[in-house]
């Protein structure tokens, strides 16, 4: 873990974990994992292990923060101290605060907040283990948690990052590629409405490289979107099969 790899892409064009440049890491999704929460979901993507829970719509505390014409959406992205190589202090870092904000702004376009004035919807994200691309995986899980809570949505929001490792545009960066690569472009998408709700970038990309990365990320998003839908239906399909035998 302490040795920096010389190259991120080998001579055969394969990445450190054997993936091709446009390949996603294995993704596992499960809905309804926290019985107390109104809605919840769990995601594994690569070595990422992330839980999302939703409470609401419920009363706003403190009352003066309530909006008269719609619900307030709040989001807290938090990393467990043991989620990363070097123990992270449990206190919210500036990075977590910024990520909480961009995640909230990626989910809000999908929520019909105007249906529930004077209420609050809380989204809690806990990263149990981090492996690059946590904000994207968090968004994917959080959107499922919102749907699981029965909150009306325009669409599910799904997220995936693309970037540049050595001189290749790659999909779904893992930790080493995130840290040592030349660029990282996380994208969140509402596929039915063709709406990008999160877009960030750090690194250096020409305009052509940027366009390639965005398109690659969108393709990755669409693949994960199908998995999201299956995960939502899974619980009910299972019951249906059993009951109707």
């Amino acid at each position: 873990m302490n040795e920096k790899p010389e190259k991120l892409i080998d001579k055969k064009g394969l990445r450190l974990d054997g993936r091709k440049p446009d390949e996603l890491r294995p993704v596992k999704l499960e809905v309804g994992v926290i019985p107390n929460a109104d809605g919840s979901a769990y995601i594994e993507q690569g070595k990422n292990r992330i839980l999302a829970g939703v409470y609401g719509p419920r009363e706003v505390h403190p009352k003066h923060l309530a909006l008269q014409d719609r619900a307030v959406l709040k989001c807290r992205y938090h990393m467990a101290p043991f989620s990363v190589q070097e123990r992270k202090s449990p206190a919210p870092s500036r990075r977590e605060i910024e990520i909480s904000k961009v995640i909230r702004e990626s989910l809000e376009p999908s929520v019909f907040t105007e249906y529930y004035p004077r209420t609050m919807i809380d989204v809690f994200i806990e990263v149990l283990q981090a492996d690059g691309g946590t904000r994207c995986a968090s968004i994917t899980a959080a959107s499922l948690a919102l749907a699981d809570a029965g909150i009306p949505l325009k669409d599910l929001v799904v997220a995936c990052a693309a970037g540049k490792a050595d001189d290749t545009i790659v999909l779904d960066l893992m930790d080493e590629e995130d840290k040592l690569g030349k660029a990282d472009v996380p994208v969140a998408l509402m596929p039915s409405l063709n709406g990008i709700t999160l877009l960030q970038m750090d690194g250096k990309l020409t305009h052509e490289e940027f366009e390639t990365a965005v398109n690659m990320a969108i393709e990755g998003c669409k693949k994960i979107y199908l998995m999201q839908k299956e995960a939502l239906k899974a619980k009910y399909m299972g019951i249906k099969e059993e009951a109707e035998e």
Binding site: K101, E105, P109, G195, L205, T206, I218
Partner: protein, 263 residues
């Protein structure tokens, strides 16, 4: 918390945009009047004041000696902080940095860091032991929209104005000498922000435009014309086509601005 904007105002802005005009008469892709002054705070190692329309930002830099991070022993440290001081807007409250000031600081930081404005290796004094630490403090004095572009410009202008003390290393001890050296600046990134209102994209949104916009997209462009940082903000969304359109606008406007500033 968003202040309530009357429906009439939003309608007015949208209708003007249909005709290709904005509230203050600007074209959709025009920046407001820009004024940059450097070296306005003597006590700071570097400083700049940017006035973009009525938005006013002051950035002061302080250069101190400190320890490097363990994973980059031969690199100096750059850190950016931003304050949305209460006098700058009726919406700003006193207190620890909130998510807006943290986002602003981190977006400005990314633009500077990813474009490698400073060659941080040149800030190294003694590998693993002593380096220069450059503090960039962004102070928002008046908020009339587009704090990101104005702050980013002010930060680069302040760094261009920043000097570090001359020093010599004697018997393993660092001693200050007389005189200063300018900070070695390699790049001059320019951040361009576009706001989406309905289906229109406007460059350099003013405060009222920000209050009615669906979302904003900021892109930092370096001297080569490449993108080095992007941040989408706001509770709306962009289509992929709009994202590409913004990237083209950002490239053009950054080039224009770079020429004007002679950066």
């Amino acid at each position: 918390m968003a202040s309530v904007v009357t429906r009439i105002k939003r309608k007015q802005i949208v209708q003007l945009l249909e005709k290709g005009k904005r509230l203050d008469g600007r074209e959709l892709t025009d920046y407001r009047e820009l004024k940059i002054d450097q070296g306005i705070i003597e006590r700071a190692e570097g400083s700049a004041r940017v006035r973009l329309g009525k938005t006013e930002i002051v950035v002061g830099t302080k250069v101190e000696m400190g320890e490097p991070f363990s994973d980059t022993p031969n690199e100096g440290v750059l850190t950016v902080n931003a304050e949305l001081v209460p006098l700058a807007s009726p919406k700003f409250e006193a207190g620890p940095p909130d998510e807006n000031s943290i986002e602003l600081a981190r977006v400005v930081d990314r633009g500077i860091r990813e474009s490698k404005v400073i060659d941080t290796e040149k800030l190294c004094i003694e590998k693993g032991k002593k380096v220069f630490v450059v503090f960039v403090d962004v102070y928002v004095l008046n908020h009339d929209g587009n704090l990101i572009d104005a702050s980013a410009l002010a930060a680069v202008a302040a760094l261009l104005n920043t000097k570090m003390s001359n020093y010599e290393v004697e018997d393993g001890e660092v001693k200050l000498k007389s005189g200063y050296t300018q900070l070695p600046i390699k790049q001059h990134p320019i951040t361009v922000t576009c706001a989406k209102i309905g289906e229109k994209l406007v460059v350099d949104p003013g405060l009222e435009e920000e209050q009615v916009m669906d979302a904003r997209l900021s892109m930092a462009i370096d001297d080569d014309g490449d993108i080095c940082a992007i941040q989408k903000g706001g509770t709306g969304y962009f289509t992929p086509e709009q994202v590409i359109e913004v990237s083209k606008l950002a490239k053009d406007k950054a080039k224009e601005m770079r020429k004007k500033l002679d950066w």
